[in-house]
């Protein structure tokens, strides 16, 4: 069964019971049962899997159809397997986004390629829709980017003619102080349209990279960056989020077709997303993970560092 997997087993079991109820009861009855069950359950559970509610609103035939399609996604690609699992665990995506994803998949033929394209297209429409993170607003954020990847991006968008040019320029930027950097990086985005960042816990006003591993490979794992780039030098951006910038929980929509994303832990004590380090090394722990809109380098507050 689609829901009988992973660490959300107990909570998801409710959804199945809830689903049976929905076929025989009125909406108010269901709502009352929902709240009473929620009260009985551990108070630490923050939310319920958003897709459970969407599935329950489907007709039985549609429910069978969506399960078939999610199975197709899960069985035809390694990332698809992760996507299918993440759908079951997602609690922070708005219900209308989850509804649109499911409706779009239902309307699509059961062909892996097309399901994947449709899924990512709908995700693109709902990026940066997760709720604002909890707790004290971080004053300092950090991003680690693979230098080679950054150079490739700067080359693609025409800022430099070659990756070597970009690299030579970046090396010189490491000599600048924060004020100089804010000028030279003033029109260079620190990330994509959905920018992923980390911060320090519990003191959210300090450099997030100080307590993290100082070796590029270990930091790469802690931040769950792409394994293909593992071992390459990392450039560290430390910046202060502008006042109006919403810092959000990452959702499956932000991760699109991502291999290393896991939805935020469903616990009241969890105030932000967490990375999922792809390693068994106990010294490397998950670190806070948030998303926000693209910002330029005019918010940098520390000199650039390159870890190799």
């Amino acid at each position: 069964m689609y829901f009988r997997e992973g660490n959300a087993k107990n909570r998801l079991h409710y959804c199945q019971r809830f689903s049976i109820s929905s076929q025989v009861g009125t909406f108010m009855t269901i709502l009352a049962k929902f709240h009473s069950w929620r009260k009985r359950r551990s108070r630490r559970v923050d939310r319920f899997p958003v897709f459970g509610e969407v599935f329950d609103a489907l007709a039985p035939a549609e429910r069978d159809d969506i399960r078939l399609k999610l199975t197709t996604i899960a069985t035809t690609s390694p990332i698809g397997r992760q996507i299918e699992a993440n759908i079951g665990l997602e609690t922070r995506l708005p219900i209308d986004a989850a509804d649109e994803i499911i409706k779009a998949l239902l309307a699509e033929a059961n062909i892996a390629d097309r399901l994947r394209t449709t899924y990512t297209q709908i995700c693109d429409r709902h990026v940066l829709t997760g709720p604002e993170i909890g707790g004290k607003r971080p004053k300092v954020l950090g991003r680690a980017v693979v230098v080679a990847r950054l150079c490739a991006r700067l080359t693609k968008y025409g800022r430099f003619r070659t990756a070597r040019q970009a690299e030579a320029w970046l090396k010189r930027q490491c000599k600048l102080d924060a004020a100089g950097l804010r000028v030279s990086f003033g029109d260079i985005p620190l990330g994509g349209l959905v920018t992923w960042a980390t911060f320090r816990e519990p003191d959210r006003s300090r450099d997030p990279f100080q307590p993290l591993p100082s070796q590029a490979m270990d930091l790469h794992d802690a931040l769950a960056l792409d394994a293909k780039d593992r071992g390459l030098p990392l450039m560290l951006f430390v910046y202060s989020p502008p006042a109006g910038l919403m810092l959000r929980f990452p959702t499956i929509a932000d991760a699109r077709w991502g291999r290393l994303f896991r939805p935020a832990v469903n616990d009241l004590a969890c105030t932000c997303g967490l990375t999922a380090p792809p390693t068994d090394n106990p010294a490397i722990k998950p670190v806070p993970e948030i998303v926000h809109k693209q910002v330029n380098g005019d918010v940098l507050i520390e000199p650039l560092r390159i870890l190799s």
Binding site: A148, R161, R172, L193, K228, L260
Partner: protein, 292 residues
């Protein structure tokens, strides 16, 4: 170590492909349809995952990958299907497929080059620069005439690959425009680090500074600003004679003429006239460098 295993699986899957399968797979990857490297970032080139995984592949597989990409490039030049061309060219840059130089050079000289979109023309020229194509100065000056504002930076880079002196010459004729200045500013760090041999950096800096009067603002400003922030010591002249170890990798394949040395023509019509100056004249320094 799940991900490591997955990377190994990706490497293994690519390594087991026959050359024809590899071409088909590259095509699928460039269209973001493949299943081996499916976790890409939509804001990056679809070729980047191939470039990233290539460093994990054996030399033999990389060589096959180069051949497959080259065959796709040749097919594109033949058929003109521009849909994936941009990402294919970025792939060729990222993998450093030097064998693509000839085809790209031929394309850049052909009449069909003018029919490409301006973005693709830029990408082709950028790829030639990335592959360190050593083309004659008249080619780059021809490119410059097609769009003096947008292509000045790429022309500077192309001329620098012939010799630093050509690039310095170009600075005195380049359009004095903020956009051009920005492009030159982007080029200068790599120009000094990668193009100018380490032992010549001080001399080249000295040469540029001696010619600052010929360079118009705002280009002169970015050059001055760049060297102000650099720690390169000033030249100790004369330059040592080139040895086998320090000789340039590319042999010069173009004639030494006033056409190829436009700024030098101001000093005289003949070599005797040009070099009939005292040893401290910049032209003398130029000749020394050009000789290398």
């Amino acid at each position: 170590m799940g991900t490591v295993n997955r990377l190994e699986q990706q490497v293994s899957a690519i390594s087991q492909m026959a050359p024809s399968q590899l071409s088909a797979w590259i095509n699928e990857r460039l269209e973001r349809r493949d299943l081996i490297l499916e976790d890409d970032d939509s804001e990056e080139s679809s070729s980047y995952p191939i470039i990233a995984v290539a460093r994990h592949l054996s030399a033999a597989v990389v060589e096959t990958l180069h051949r497959a990409a080259l065959s796709l490039l040749q097919a594109w030049i033949r058929n003109g299907d521009a849909e994936k061309a941009d990402d294919l060219l970025l792939l060729i840059q990222g993998l450093g497929i030097k064998s693509a130089r000839t085809d790209l050079e031929r394309l850049a000289r052909s009449e069909s080059f003018a029919n490409l979109s301006s973005a693709l023309r830029y990408r082709v020229l950028q790829t030639l620069i990335s592959l360190e194509a050593n083309l004659e100065p008249s080619f780059w000056y021809g490119v410059y005439q097609t769009d003096r504002r947008k292509l000045a930076g790429i022309v500077f880079d192309g001329l620098a690959l012939i010799s630093p002196n050509h690039a310095i010459d170009f600075l005195s004729v380049a359009l004095p425009d903020p956009v051009v200045a920005e492009q030159i500013a982007a080029s200068l760090p790599s120009f000094m680090d990668d193009v100018v041999p380490a032992r010549d950096r001080a001399s080249v800096r000295s040469l540029i500074e001696s010619r600052l009067a010929e360079i118009r603002p705002p280009l002169a400003d970015v050059v001055t600003e760049f060297f102000k922030s650099e720690k390169t010591p000033l030249a100790v002249l004369p330059l040592p004679e080139p040895t086998a170890a320090t000789a340039p990798a590319h042999k010069r394949e173009w004639a030494i003429s006033s056409e190829n040395f436009p700024a030098l023509s101001a000093f005289g019509e003949t070599w005797e006239q040009i070099f009939g100056f005292g040893p401290s004249n910049p032209a003398k320094l130029f000749a020394n460098l050009a000789h290398q």
